[in-house]
Amino acid sequence: MSAAEEVVTEAPAVEAVPKRAMTLGYGTSLVVLAALILTPLFVKNFIIFQMTMLLIYGLAVLALNILTGGSGQFSLGQSAFYAIGAYTTAILMEHFNVNYALTLPVAGVVCFGAGFLFGQPALRLSGIYLALATFALALAMPQLLKLGFLEHWTGGVQGLVVTKPDAPFGLPLSQDMWLYYFTLAVSIGIYVASVNLLRSRSGRALMSIRDNEIAASAMGVNVALYKTLAFGVSAGITGIAGGLGAIAVQFVAPDGYTITLAISLFVGMVVGGVGWLPGSIVGSAFIIFVPNIAEGISKGLSGAVFGVLLFLVIYLVPHGARQVALIAQQLAAKLKKN
C-alpha cells in the first residue's frame, strides 16, 4: 500500500449532547424516584431482586456512559472492572469479615486505580484500537481470576460464596428489600455525583475532548489527565456496581464476568442513549428483561429473537431512549401550547 500519509477529518465517535439534555427535569425525576421507592412495597421478593439487579447494571451502564458519552473513549472491557469490584467485595467480606457497606468504597478505589492505570496506555489508542485493547482486558480477566497463585483468595475456578447481609438496627425488612434500598441509596448518590461531575469544569473539559481533542488541547485542557481520569472514574463506579452485584447474587466466579457481560453493558448504553445518563436505567432494563422476553417467544431461537428485538430498537430509535425522551418532551411542549 502507498506510504502517503492519510489525512482525515475524523467525525466524532459520539455526537455532542447539550449539557441541559443530560438529565431529566425535576418533575420527571421525582416521579421516577417515587416509583423506585414505592414499587418494592407491593411486589414479590423476586421482583425486588430483579429491581436490585436493574439498579446495579444501571450503575455499570452509567459508568460506561461517563466514559463514552463524557470523554468519547470507547470501552468493551467494563466487565473486567466489574469483576475486580465484585472480587474485592467478596474477598473482603469472606476472608477479612469486613462489613459489606465498607467494602464498596474499597472496591471503588481499587477499580479507580485499575482504570487510571489502564487509561495510561489507552491514551495512545483511539477508536478501534482502544476497542481492541479493552476487549483484550475483558477476555483476560476471567483467566487472571483463575490463576493458581491467586486461588487462595479468589477460590479459583470454584469462586467464592458471599453471605447476604441482614437489615441493620433490627429494621423489619427482608434481606432483599434492605439490599434494594441500600443499592438505591448508593445509586442515587452516584447518579447525582455523576451529573454534577459532567456539569462541572471537569465535565466541560471532558466533553471538549470528546468533541474535538486537538481543539481542546489547544484551549489548554490537559487531555492526557482528563482522559485517564475519565477511565478511572468510570472504572470506579463500575467496581462499586460489581461489589453490589456480588452481594446481591451471593456468589462470584470467573464464569460470571466474561466478555458477554461487557457486550451486554455496551448494548445497554446504546439502547439507553449514549451520553444521556438517565438512559442508563432503560438500557439496564433492556439487557435484563429482553433476553427473558426473547426466551418466552422461542427457546430454541432465543438468541435470534434477542437480535431481532435489538435491531428493531436501533431502527426505530437509533439514538436510544434519549430520542424517545426528546420526542416525548416535544409532544408535551406542543400540548401545552395548544
Binding site: 500500500m1 475524523e10 489508542l125 478501534i128 483484550a136 435470534a304 436501533i314
Partner: protein, 292 residues
C-alpha cells in the same frame, strides 16, 4: 531446540488460520472503516451451507464455489437490508447492530444444524507435508490459499478501478462522491467481498477446529488481533500479523515459566497493545494524521 522449532512450525500452522480470518477483517475495514463483530458467525454460517451441500452430494469444489458466490450475495443482501438503513445512525449504534447480527446468526445455525461437532473435509488431505509431521498438507494448503488471496486482494486494491474506488470511498467518502463514485454501493460490495473471503476462511479452518456453531468465537478474536497488529489498512500486514500472533502465542505458552501456559492469550494481546502504543497504526498500517 527441537521443541522450539516444532512450536514455531505449529505456530505458523495455527497462524494461517488467524491470517485467513484477518484478511476478511481487513476487507470489511477497507469498506466500512469498522470491525464487524458478526463476521466470524457469517463465515461459520457459510461453512455450514457448504457442508449441507456436500451432505446433499455436491462435490467439494462445486460446493466451495457455490458457497463463495452465495456468501458474496448474502453479504451484499445483509448490507442492503440491515445496515444501509443505519448508515446515518451513530457509529456505536452500528456496533450494536453487529452484536444483534451475531446473536441471530449463531442462534439460527444452532437450531438448524445442532451444536455437535462435525467433521469437515479438506481437499488437500491431511498427510505430513514435506516429511514434517507438524504441518499437514491441509495446513500447507491453507497457507497457500491465504497467500493467493493476499495476492488477489493486493492486485484488486492496487490496480483495478473498483478496488481503487472502494479505497477512496472508505477513506474519503465525501471526495469520492464528488468524483462520481457510488459510495453506497462500494460499501455493499465490500460487505460481499468480506463475506466471500470469510467463507473461504471458514471452509479452510473447519477441518482443523471442526464445524460447529461456536467454531469462530475464538478465531475471530485472533483474527482481529492479527489484523490490528499488522495494520488494519494493509492486507499484507494482516497476514504477517496472523503468523506472528500464532508463533508468539505458542512460544509464550511454552517458554514463559509459571503463568505462560494459562495466560497465552492475555500475554499475546498485551504484546499487541504494546506494539500499538509504539506504532498506533499497526506494523504496516498507514499513519493517520488528524485535522481539526
Amino acid at each position: 531446540m527441537e521443541l522450539f522449532a516444532n512450536q514455531v512450525l505449529a505456530g505458523i500452522a495455527t497462524g494461517a488460520i488467524y491470517a485467513c480470518m484477518a484478511l476478511a477483517v481487513v476487507m470489511i475495514y477497507q469498506a466500512i472503516d469498522h470491525l464487524n463483530f458478526a463476521q466470524g458467525e457469517m463465515a461459520m454460517f457459510s461453512t455450514f451451507m457448504s457442508w449441507q451441500m456436500m451432505q446433499w452430494g455436491v462435490p467439494y469444489w462445486w460446493a466451495f464455489i457455490l458457497t463463495v458466490i452465495l456468501s458474496f450475495a448474502g453479504g451484499i443482501l445483509i448490507e442492503r437490508l440491515l445496515f444501509k438503513p443505519l448508515a446515518k445512525a451513530p457509529v456505536l449504534t452500528n456496533v450494536a447492530g453487529f452484536i444483534a447480527l451475531f446473536a441471530i446468526v449463531n442462534s439460527v445455525a444452532g437450531l438448524i444444524w445442532d451444536f455437535t461437532i462435525k467433521q469437515y473435509p479438506t481437499p488437500f488431505g491431511s498427510s505430513p507435508f514435506l516429511g514434517s509431521q507438524l504441518i499437514s498438507t491441509h495446513q500447507a494448503g491453507m497457507v497457500g490459499v491465504t497467500l493467493l488471496l493476499l495476492a488477489g486482494l493486493y492486485f484488486f486494491f492496487q490496480f483495478t478501478r473498483i478496488g481503487l474506488a472502494m479505497r477512496a470511498a472508505a477513506s474519503l467518502p465525501e471526495s469520492a462522491r464528488l468524483v462520481g463514485i457510488n459510495t453506497s454501493w462500494m460499501i455493499a460490495l465490500g460487505w460481499g467481498m468480506a463475506a466471500a473471503i470469510g467463507a473461504i476462511a471458514g471452509m479452510l479452518i473447519a477441518p482443523v477446529v471442526f464445524l460447529e456453531p461456536n467454531m469462530m468465537g475464538g478465531v475471530l478474536i485472533y483474527g482481529f488481533a492479527s489484523a490490528v497488529l499488522g495494520g488494519l489498512s494493509s492486507p499484507l500486514g494482516a497476514v504477517i500479523g496472523g503468523f506472528l500472533v500464532g508463533v508468539f502465542e505458542n512460544l509464550a505458552g511454552t517458554y514463559i515459566p509459571g503463568v505462560g501456559n494459562e495466560l497465552k492469550l492475555p500475554i499475546a494481546l498485551a504484546l499487541i497493545i504494546t506494539v500499538l502504543v509504539v506504532k498506533p497504526a499497526g506494523l504496516f498500517g498507514r499513519p493517520i494524521v488528524k485535522r481539526v
